[in-house]
């Protein structure tokens, strides 16, 4: 295709948008609104996924807190028993001193707060690393067996968080399903509005198209300006939605990290990461909805 032809088509595309300003604005708004909703859904799903991922990373271990009364021998004994359970990758012993140090490290700047503790009340513990999080239930059952069957009294508490992770994943998948259905409807509406906008341009250019047809313009030559019009409408809509997502997310992100809990920022997907995900999705959907809207209109109203 010649550059002059491309120029001509771009120009016709923009002329079409300008000629039906009202409908163009409606099209752009509907694309922008749909994508903004998609943005909110993506925000929620990404963050839940991220949280559950972090949770999984942290909770692929089972914490077994031990009774203070246990002797060194008993401790190593129960350690061996744990290692023997199938599904256990390895077992770490963490003394109460180790536990305090780790905590200080985790708290970082606020670690000095722990210095005021007069006595280390943290328990000694075993950290069981399971091969996969799915094995956690089984391992915990076996641990309870050691307690019940062998009447071993040394285990004070077993902590593991598979349920939390499961719940988070369930919420994420629920939001995703509902969100997708909602988005599908919104995008169909956007497409319909774009198709109607294109139809107006088609009507305005009817005479021109008839002449183009008679002098032998190719079908693509006739169609391209309408595609461009549709895609530009979609793309403008997606840019507006991206701006909304950027500032909206930035605002929410700042609110969470500043006003709430500092530590939480580590669990929230960063603004940059969010944009990296949404820009390609929005661009493709925006242009795609526009192109599809044009196709719908052209198929119905343009016989070339």
């Amino acid at each position: 295709m010649k550059i002059r032809t491309i120029n001509y088509m771009l120009k016709q595309g923009f002329v079409g948008i300008w000629r039906n300003r009202g409908m163009s604005i409606a099209s752009i708004s509907s694309v922008a609104a749909s994508l903004a909703v998609l943005g909110v859904i993506i925000t929620i799903v990404l963050n839940i996924n991220n949280l559950s991922y972090i949770a999984q990373m942290q909770f692929d271990t089972i914490q077994v807190y031990l009774d203070d009364e246990l002797t060194v021998e008993e401790i190593s004994n129960v350690g061996q028993k744990m290692t023997a359970i199938s599904g256990v990758k390895y077992v770490d012993y963490e003394s109460r001193e180790d536990a305090l140090n780790r905590m200080k490290e985790q708290w970082g700047e606020q670690g000095y707060l722990l210095d005021v503790l007069e006595e280390n009340t943290l328990p000694n513990s075993y950290v069981i690393h399971v091969e996969s999080i799915d094995m956690a239930d089984y391992v915990v059952k076996e641990l309870r067996n050691i307690e019940d069957v062998e009447e071993f009294e040394g285990i004070e508490e077993i902590k593991y968080h598979k349920d939390i992770v499961d719940n988070m994943l369930r919420i994420a998948s629920f939001v995703r399903t509902i969100g997708l259905a909602l988005i599908l409807v919104l995008i169909l509406i956007a497409m319909f509005i774009i198709a109607n906008t294109i139809k107006l341009t088609l009507n305005a250019r009817k005479q021109e198209i008839t002449i183009m047809k008679y002098v032998g313009a190719t079908n693509w030559f006739v169609r391209w300006p309408f595609f461009i019009e549709g895609m530009v409408l979609g793309l403008i809509g997606s840019v507006i939605a991206l701006v909304f997502v950027y500032y909206g997310y930035q605002y929410a992100f700042d609110l969470i990290t500043e006003k709430f809990y500092v530590m939480l920022s580590a669990y929230v997907v960063s603004v940059n990461e969010m944009m990296k995900r949404t820009i390609p999705i929005f661009t493709v959907i925006g242009a795609g909805v526009g192109a599809l809207g044009s196709i719908v209109s052209l198929r119905k109203h343009l016989k070339v």
Binding site: Y214, G216, T218, F221
Partner: protein, 228 residues
């Protein structure tokens, strides 16, 4: 140049628009197609332009059977066979020059060719001084000449004129005929559908008369043959 063999066209509603048409038109001919309304003249033009497909038969234009032509090739076929109408079909928001240049732009002609061709055809139809005017500033005859200029600017080998003088007074009609004859002399085949008895009778060209979808007369140096 143009051959129709056993061509029939039956529309969906069962209307027999054309029945068993056999016709051969040579290169460089000037031909009148006459007949009452509903005789099948419009269908004939639509078949040549491949706007409609014949129900039966074959149509060969420039050694190519257009009934077997793929849809993709239709635009290229239409660059070779152009058409003018009774109602001119000019774009009102474009100047005379732009209207003609538009026909070249949409087939992606180079600007160099456009700058060369447009003034040339404007000269041929005698409108060099009206290039910058808009269609509404022109008389009917001038508008038809612009539409002729647009039709020939891409050098088609066939020009179809669908009642080109239908909206014009007799004097202006003759101006248009002069232009068409001149184009014909350059080697372009001209097929003109008309109801203008005096023009047909005076021009002494081949006349094909259609009635109820059939050719009832095909005469060289013929006359209109109907009483108005």
């Amino acid at each position: 140049m143009i051959q129709l063999k056993n061509v029939s066209k039956i529309y969906n509603k069962g209307i027999h628009a054309l029945t068993n048409i056999n016709l051969s038109i040579d290169k460089g001919e000037f031909l009148f197609l006459v007949g009452p309304s509903g005789a099948g003249k419009s269908t004939f033009i639509k078949l040549l332009l491949k706007e409609e497909e014949p129900t039966e038969g074959s149509i060969v234009v420039d050694h190519q059977d257009i009934t077997k032509m793929s849809r993709r090739k239709i635009p290229y076929h239409r660059r070779n066979i152009s058409v003018i109408f009774q109602d001119f079909r000019l774009l009102p928001n474009k100047t005379v020059y732009e209207n003609i240049a538009f026909a070249m732009q949409v087939i992606e002609a180079s600007s160099k060719d456009i700058r060369r061709q447009v003034p040339m055809v404007l000269g041929m139809v005698g409108l060099s001084d009206k290039a910058k005017q808009y269609p509404h500033e022109l008389s009917g005859g001038e508008r038809q000449r612009v539409s002729i200029a647009r039709a020939i600017v891409n050098n088609p080998s066939i020009l179809i004129a669908d009642e080109p003088t239908g909206n014009l007074d007799p004097e202006t009609a003759w101006e248009i005929m002069k232009v068409l004859k001149q184009i014909n002399r350059r080697g372009t085949t001209v097929v003109m559908v008309t109801h203008a008895k005096d023009i047909v009778d005076t021009m002494q060209q081949r006349v094909i008369a259609l009635e109820k979808g059939r050719i009832i007369r095909d005469e060289h140096r013929g006359a209109y043959g109907y009483e108005d």
